[in-house]
Amino acid sequence: MKRREFIRVSSLLGAGAAVAPSFMLSGCAAKPLPGSGAVTSTPTVCDMCFWKCAGHVYRENGEIWKITGNPDDLHSGGRLCTRGTGGPGAYLDPDRLKQPLMRVTDADGRQRFQEVTWDVALDFIADKMRGIAETVGPERMLMLHHGSGSRHFVHLLRAYGSNSRAEPAFAQCRGPRDVGFRLTVGESVSSPERTDMANARCIVFLGCHIGENLHNAQVQTMAEAINRNATLITVDPRFSVPAGKSQYWLPIKPGTDMALLLSWMNVLIDEGLCDQDYIERYTVGFEQLAAHVRPYTPEWVYLETGIKPDVIRETAREMAKAAPATVVHPGRHATWYGDDTQRSRAVAILNALLGSWNRKGGFYIPESVDLPEYPLPDYPTPKAQTADAYPGKWPFASQGVTNGAIEASIGEDAFFKGWLVYGTNLPQSVPNVEEKLKAAANTLDLLVVVETMPSEMTGYADVILPECTYLERYDDLRNSGEREPSLALRMPAFEPRYDSKPGWWIAKQLGSRLGLDEYFPWQDYSEKLDWQLKQVGSSLEEMQRIGVKNFPRQSPLYFRPGERVQFRTPSRKIELYSKQLADQGFDPMPVYTPPDPVPNGYYRLNYGRMPAHTFGKTTNNPLLFELTPENQLWVNPLVASQWSLSSGDYVRLASPAGAISNPVRVRVTERIGPDSVFMAHGFGHKSKRLRLTAGVGADDAGLMSNIKIDPLMGGTGMRANFVTFVQQRAKSS
């Protein structure tokens, strides 16, 4: 049977009929053509996600008009993504935080937020911070953060004496990948990812759905690879966007990727398809690995993964045929099943067997501009680090672990006494965390949230500080490690709206109140940027004109043939066998563990991204809300008929622990198998002050009760969760 499913996305053509006045029967004067008024433009660096694409903000007759990519920006290929193009919505959003807010308790005991002046808010925060420093020490002040603007507050806390911080980007996202690669090749995959897809002849995606996430250069280089007829192999239980572009789609049983990776190694070694010269020159532990993967034959792995043995062999041969121009893509969001660092190690090992690490068409060596830091006094040495809050746990965590730090903030004798939360909405970014946040908020001496939007996190704060958007402020220069080193400037295109302020100003004001003026010698942040730019032969004035400056590379992009390389691992080699893992009692080579079976009547909860949104951060943006107002629950037709569900129905989901979601719109589709349901992350907002998006769609994070913690680095594996439909719709059978 051939089914056909048409969906017209963003099809609001007819919606305007209702608002058109019906009495208007004669013609009306045309609007002037766009761009025919007084047009000016200002460079910017996009902050709609973390990718940091450079662009230009256009205004016409003083009003914001549009934001487009900067053609000189190699980092973004000169083009913005959907969200970047929707940037004006962030500036115009009427729900933005407008003024500092402080929690007050009324005579009847009820709490509410009261608008206060900046002086009142900042004095209060500085007093509390001084109190924490004096009683327990400054390192008991924790920063939880995300995004490029957080650097101002990292600087503030370091000057104050605390190096304690954690970001969900580590333990809830890419931490296992970065730790896994560091353990294996001595370096991380970094951001932007150093994948050389633009030159690859074969690309393997494992549960990585580029095109649904819009990591800009990743999307662009994937499209280039398709145009060059590279072989794409996508492993995903769902028919994702890249699956639809691939020669090979491997609809794997969820949670069995490790078995497939080990089987691919088995085939490469068994059939003599590895890059032997690379292995001998650069790796240790090949003999142990060969013995280790021998049992993972395609025939055995077929039973676990559902991928036929001949497909496993054929895809392994495709990878070898294109090697070293083969990218086994490390993905980005890697916290799946709790063995994620080991799975990322398996990805790194597979790339090493193919000889693709730091070889053309595989991975490249990133380089950034050697940009001097502004001369400032040294930071004081803190008496404790973040990891001292959860001693003995997660020995390979290279950054603070959010979930560990949150737990160490609960109770009267908790390690952390104060929080500064910048740009991260913890209730949606850390799974199943609301009760812990409430408990922490009850005992912390201070909880400050710096935000542009009234996210759920602001509801936990003592003080909310409204930051202006990226279109209204200076931040640090973009200087990412990448193919071509470059600097890019974010500068204000507009005065801050309402009583919002730039992050650098807030940090300086707090610094001043804490007696840290010497760390903030600038009156305006542009002075600091100008000084830095002049050290590398540019200036603020030049950057205000050009926005992006490209610098020549100083070092090679790939390993040279036969080059001697010292890897940053204990053995100075790529560690196929990891002695440091064995020494700490962990598996020295990745081992496959079958996933938990799906309980009867339940479905695996698969979650991911959609191109219009950066998680919950953008769902209230009027332009992007209009494009994609809600998330949809993908349901296989067999499951839908069992539960009498049709596309367009709204249904609630329940977790085994009893959590119930908001109603979510059903999309019946063949693109998902009958054992799972799928939804995009970032919806189901509870904050009523987000007037467009509050209550719209369902939140996956709130349904997660079965979290698998990665013993190596503390990551929260989130793919082992199950949901069912809330009963009323079930057919009686």
Partner: protein
């Protein structure tokens, strides 16, 4: 006569909607309305599937029934080309063109009382620029140019790749092409 055409490669289109947002901001399209939109078409049964994303808009037909049937002359051709525009001064909002368009490509009504639609960004084309959607697309799957010029990129793409247009049976001779 210049025959402007858009050629969109469905092999690389990911349905991201950047073209939709870029059109909205460039052309200041009122809230709730869009001049272009994305269609996702999936066929087959799990796991034998095919999904195609298409960015759709007015086809600037060579035989534009909307222009023929417009009683006031508001719907007209731009300069010596196939770009179909609506003159807001002349449009009475009678909606004859909406009924006449087999592609459902016209905005029902601009809040100011006229029928609005995709203009192929003629205000940009005039300056030698691509339409806003084309120049925003992160996968670079959209191409724009003159089909009467055999050396143009769009002519070359149609000569070397397999393609389709939507509902060719309408006889409108649409000028938005999809590479397959």
């Amino acid at each position: 006569m210049t025959r402007f055409a858009m050629v969109i490669d469905t092999r690389t289109c990911i349905g991201c909607g950047d073209c939709v947002v870029a059109c909205k901001t460039e052309n200041k399209v009122p809230a709730g309305l869009n001049r272009d939109w994305i269609v996702e078409a999936t066929s087959g049964t799990y796991p034998n599937l095919k999904t195609e994303f298409r960015s759709e808009r007015c086809n600037h037909c060579s035989n534009p029934t909307c222009v023929t049937l417009c009683p006031t002359g508001a719907s007209h051709l731009w300069q010596d080309s196939n770009i179909v525009l609506v003159d807001a001064d002349k449009c009475t909002g009678c909606k004859a063109c909406i009924a006449a368009c087999p592609y459902d490509a016209r905005l029902v009504m601009h809040p100011d009382g006229y029928v609005d639609k995709c203009t192929f960004c003629h205000h940009r084309v005039e300056k030698g620029l691509d339409p806003a959607c084309v120049s925003s697309c992160p996968t670079r799957c959209m191409h724009f140019g003159d089909l009467d010029d055999p050396g143009s990129e769009v002519s070359r793409l149609l000569a070397t790749r397999s393609w389709k247009v939507l509902s060719p049976e309408t006889g409108n001779e649409p000028n938005v092409y999809y590479l397959t």
